[in-house]
């Protein structure tokens, strides 16, 4: 897969944190979905969050640090809101092409996850 080697360090670090939050949110959504059973609508919410995290990772350089401890929150909606708030400090530039659809995807997911 292509990696983005032109993104600046601050934006890269922030985006990596966004990717980690989304990844954790997807894991939590799927864990809840599996507990609820095969008919839970949360399976598709988890899928949406996972695809958003794939979008975020695709924007990062190959050596981006995506490890680290999972976030403390377990609430999916809170994790998504935290991810959206982090994206606010990422500039919208050629080097961060893809941030706009990612922002839209996260905002859509927040709406979908918030009762």
């Amino acid at each position: 897969m292509m990696a983005n080697d032109t993104i600046d360090q601050d934006a890269s670090d922030t985006l990596a944190a966004v990717a980690r939050l989304l990844r954790h949110a997807a894991v939590r959504a799927w864990a809840q979905a599996e507990a609820d059973g095969p008919r839970s609508h949360l399976h598709l919410l988890g899928l949406g969050i996972h695809t958003a995290s794939c979008q975020a990772v695709a924007m990062l350089p190959a050596d981006a640090d995506l490890k680290g401890h999972p976030p403390a929150q377990d609430d999916v909606a809170q994790l998504l809101r935290a991810a959206e708030e982090l994206t606010r400090s990422i500039p919208v530039l050629d080097q961060t092409a893809g941030i706009s659809p990612l922002v839209v995807a996260i905002c859509d997911l927040v709406r979908e996850a918030t009762p």
């Binding site: 695809t51 981006a64 490890k67 500039p91 092409a97 922002v103 839209v104 709406r111």
Partner: protein, 485 residues
Amino acid sequence: MNAQDERSVGELLLDADFSTRQVLMDVTGQDAPAMLRTWGEVVQSASELWASLPQPVHGGTGPIDGVTMARLEAMSLGMHRTQVRRGWPGDGPADERLLHVAETLTRAADLIGRRGGHIRPTDTAVRADLDAARMRIMHTLYVGAHGVGVAAREHVADVELSTRGKSSRESRGVPRGQDAISRLAAFEQLAGAYVGNRFARAAQGEHVRGPYGSERLQQALIGWDIQAHRTLAATPTAPNLLLTARTQAGIATAAGAILHAGARTGHVDTHAYQHRLAPSLDATQEAWTHVADRWAEMTSPADRTDLDLVHAAGELRAAVREVAHDKTTWARPDVMAGRVDLGEAAQHLQQALSAAVDVACVIRDVAAQDANLTGPARAMSHRANADIDRATERGHRGEDVVWVTPGDVYANRTVTIPEPVRAGLVDATDTLVQTASNAMSAASCLDRATQDRPTGSGQEATAPRSRRHEALTPMAQVSPRVARP
């Protein structure tokens, strides 16, 4: 306008951006009329701000030029003229949040007009700032258009539901809303292309009238199936296999919800649904989920997933949501039935369940034969030991073998998957192929159920048989491979 407002242009642009995000996160169908009334003001303000930014000294015409903004403004004016001609949404209150966005953009334009008109963008840093400002304006329009489009879609769905069976006069909000949705989609794609939306297909200013309802579901299922085969043939990596399995699990879940609605509304045989379809769909969903969990263990956080596969999964999810979701959960059966012909949707799902058997076979072949499968050492060691322990509990006592070296575990290096992990993976995918085949067999009743469904149910007639046959895709017609002994 607040006379005390001393924010910079950059801060005002961020305010406008964050306001449109907030709108998008909170929007509902009830907001649509007010948002549609106000959207034109947002675009007008954005256009004026754009025009107020100092132009390149040598009249540069790179991607950062005014052509896109001019087209967006023209599209917005076209929408406004249509609204006036059709008398919809008509007079009424404006959307305060979008009004705030428009006012903020106007404030930024005033600020530049009063204090920044003398700036000549000869300096590289100044040019970069201006480019960033233009990008932020376009991004704000992109997010805002998406939000108005979401409101319009939800509004149309609400109107469709509330005016079902009523006169065309009462339901005229539906075609009006659909026209607005198409225009907003074109607007969004054009703005998205400007901000580097690699997922969008730039519309050349024309109205985008994509399929929706069961036709969109059908296309998304076919598109997914084709892309999954392509991706797994070229790059059968753990992240791609994970997304494939999760998406297939999602298809099984969605099939359960849509067919349940079909059974409740007389489009699917209730007995067949309860006694054959539902149990087999549950079983295949669980098998896909189990296999996905296995692939997830073999991924690292930095692993990349094929973006074409991501896009296909995203479109499939969006198509399912359009049919089967209502805000944060499944829509009621009667609501789903009001949106699409559930008999037709059942046909598409039947084909998808057939195609799923082949995807399962491809995944099993990768699990059994791909010598390049790797995973993080710690997860592989843990999984190997867990599978060995499970085998021991079943009475199979093997030799004590170190499957992953302590050095690899310590450094958590990427290692070739140990033999017990592969054996567990093959077992899981064998079960997957079996459950997918069972679901396909159970779903074969859908053809008959659709043809036998009661008439006068308030739904449009399903496509004639000849059309249904034309809709079959090559993937769906592929016979499933025989399960490996």
